[in-house]
Symmetry: C2
Subunit: 374 residues, 2 copies
């Protein structure tokens, strides 16, 4: 069985469609919760599915170090290991090596580094990244690329992008022909339009099943990111999914979809859930704030997640202050549901040709701010 991407509707630059894979359909625009080490933190996989997620992201860097790709393979692959039978996208390991590992050494061949867990030495090359992602059983495989550390000069960004393009070609060769699996190229080039164009041209010349926009959400700010998204998606083939890596806050996601992005991932909803931050229609609610301690109202009365349908703000405040695990469990569930609700709202609006009105309502709701204290 093979894979496909079907565009169902567009509204301005925004698009909605479906990526079909043997493991199930991915409705786009799609938000992918991050299951770094074989688990979306604080969630059971059936609960992640219940929030509306069609696909998860797994981190190659973490999984190659522990439990190792070879072990996951022996145990039947990542889907079986973590009890998630729907599509999984794995990153290439490149970004996390740069942000987490020690003693990194970059060459034309690849990168060597020491594990942040036990100090053991490892190497990732484009070929090894493809092998790891194959052992994991990933449905959507990412090319191995390099992400230059910021701040970087335009020269450094150009040099890094060109290395990533050579690695993209090696990734494509190493990936080979794997029906039912997709390989995505990753556009680099920082915030420089010419470099983005050069990168897009290199990638489309090689030919991929989908195209990611990499090197954003690394501290450049929303304005600069949207500046790139005003032109970058259009450089990529219309008939392939476009994936913006590592984004973002709710308004980042809406702005990216508006500009033609089809897929995104971010740790923000799950990480924030564990630190007492809830994303709601009316903005961020910090549940640790004392204003909630006597508040019998739900976090968001319009949300149907377990946190909102069965618990008061006072309870959520209490369990956060008491450092109870149920705090992270409930707030993560809520945040992931909120993110998926945004995605569903956008998919519906794009299909109906009412994206602008939906976006205006989204911003108006946020501008209102949280409900007043009692």
């Amino acid at each position: 069985m093979s894979t496909s991407f079907t565009l169902h509707a567009t509204d301005g630059a925004a698009r909605t469609g479906v990526i079909s894979t043997p493991r199930g359909d991915i409705r786009t625009p799609a938000f992918m919760p991050v299951g770094t080490a074989g688990t979306v933190k604080a969630m059971l996989p059936e609960s992640v599915r219940d929030t509306g997620a069609d696909i998860l992201l797994g981190n190659t860097y973490h999984l190659m170090l522990r439990p190792t790709a070879e072990r996951v393979d022996r145990l039947g692959g990542l889907h079986r290991f973590m009890n998630w039978d729907r599509p999984i996208l794995t990153d290439s390991g490149g970004f996390q090596v740069m942000s987490l590992a020690a003693l990194r050494k970059l060459t034309e061949k690849g990168v060597t580094f020491k594990s942040h867990i036990d100090g053991s030495k490892h190497e990732i090359t484009p070929e090894r990244s493809m092998e790891i992602q194959r052992l994991l059983g990933s449905d959507i495989v990412m090319c191995f690329d390099e992400c230059p550390a910021l701040p970087a000069t335009e020269d450094e960004v150009a040099k890094s992008m060109r290395l990533s393009m050579r690695w993209a070609e090696r990734s494509k060769v190493a990936f080979g022909d794997r029906p039912g699996h997709m390989l995505f190229g990753i556009q680099q080039g920082g915030v420089t339009q010419d470099l983005r164009a050069e990168s897009a041209k290199a990638l489309t010349g090689i030919g991929f099943d989908g195209y990611a926009i990499g090197g954003l959400a690394v501290g450049e700010g929303q304005e600069a990111m949207f500046g790139v998204l005003d032109y970058a998606p259009d450089m990529l083939p219309k008939d392939r999914p476009r994936y913006l890596m590592g984004v973002g806050k709710p308004d980042d996601i809406v702005g990216a979809v508006k500009r033609g992005v089809d897929m995104m991932d971010c740790v923000l909803p799950s990480r924030s859930g564990r630190t007492g931050q809830a994303f709601t229609r009316h903005g961020v609610v910090n549940i640790k704030n004392a204003r909630h301690q006597d508040d019998p109202r739900p976090l968001d009365e319009a949300c149907s997640c377990p946190a909102c349908s069965s618990y008061s703000r006072a309870y959520l405040h209490h369990v956060f202050r008491s450092q109870e695990m149920i705090s992270g469990m409930l707030l993560t569930w809520h945040n992931l549901r909120y993110y998926q609700d945004i995605m569903q709202g956008m998919r519906n609006a794009i299909a109906a040709g009412t994206f602008d009105a939906w976006e205006a309502a989204f911003h108006a709701d946020r501008a209102e701010g949280d409900i007043p204290p009692l």
Copy 2:
């Protein structure tokens, strides 16, 4: 609506029956998971129910300090607060004051202490304990008692027991007449048969809806505990439930039921779940042990909990080693399910008059030990 206790069958000293309350039936012998601060740690309440629990225990000491009984009352009571609509038993606060609080001062009137959370000063008397448990909305209220710190001389135990009996009388007066709610007296007297008899006589003279056996599982060892249980339950009215507080390991529980106990509670299954210890038919499995890292088999192939039906030992090992929350979530679920499976097994066996055979099989399974490594 009122409450009742109906004995359905006995087998030797072991009993099975039902405690009926307006919030639902409690099948006995019953194991009560501990929801200390308004949550059974690492579990959603619907998952606790799914394990087979009919009733939870809440800790008066913790809840009076945070979020406070008055706040829980304003928010609609503990059931609504924590989203558990079935029966809740609350302890009196006495035991935890002795084990957790600082600067305790004990008088005839009650006990004053400093909170272990913020150092604030508090007092619990029998009257205040009844008030707190009423504010929480507890279905089964425990008399306020004193637990002497071990080691204690027989004289100290006797003195403490007699104080607890005077407090039991004050608790009964303060509790008043509350249809639909039950008040349990607590037998004390350490490991001394005469003192246990004196305590039982005092309590039955006052008259309670149920009787707890207190002052055990405090370090005296299983043999000494069973020694007391060989006579203590018989000192208490046959037509009232008997509750052994703070017990225990699986074999403690089986031994207690065999000796006529109807109810128990313990943090062990949930606490062990968070530290990587799983209770199984074949004994304790330490999931952090390296022998599990490549083991594709479930923790216990006969268990139908999510941990056993959807995950390998290798996965449970991986998420424990990676300090992922799902480790505590899955192992707690398994342990609570295992405890409830034991209870259901005993209830069935007592009803069928086959308790001895059931107990022999229970011990034979444990003696086998864990499945051999692959």
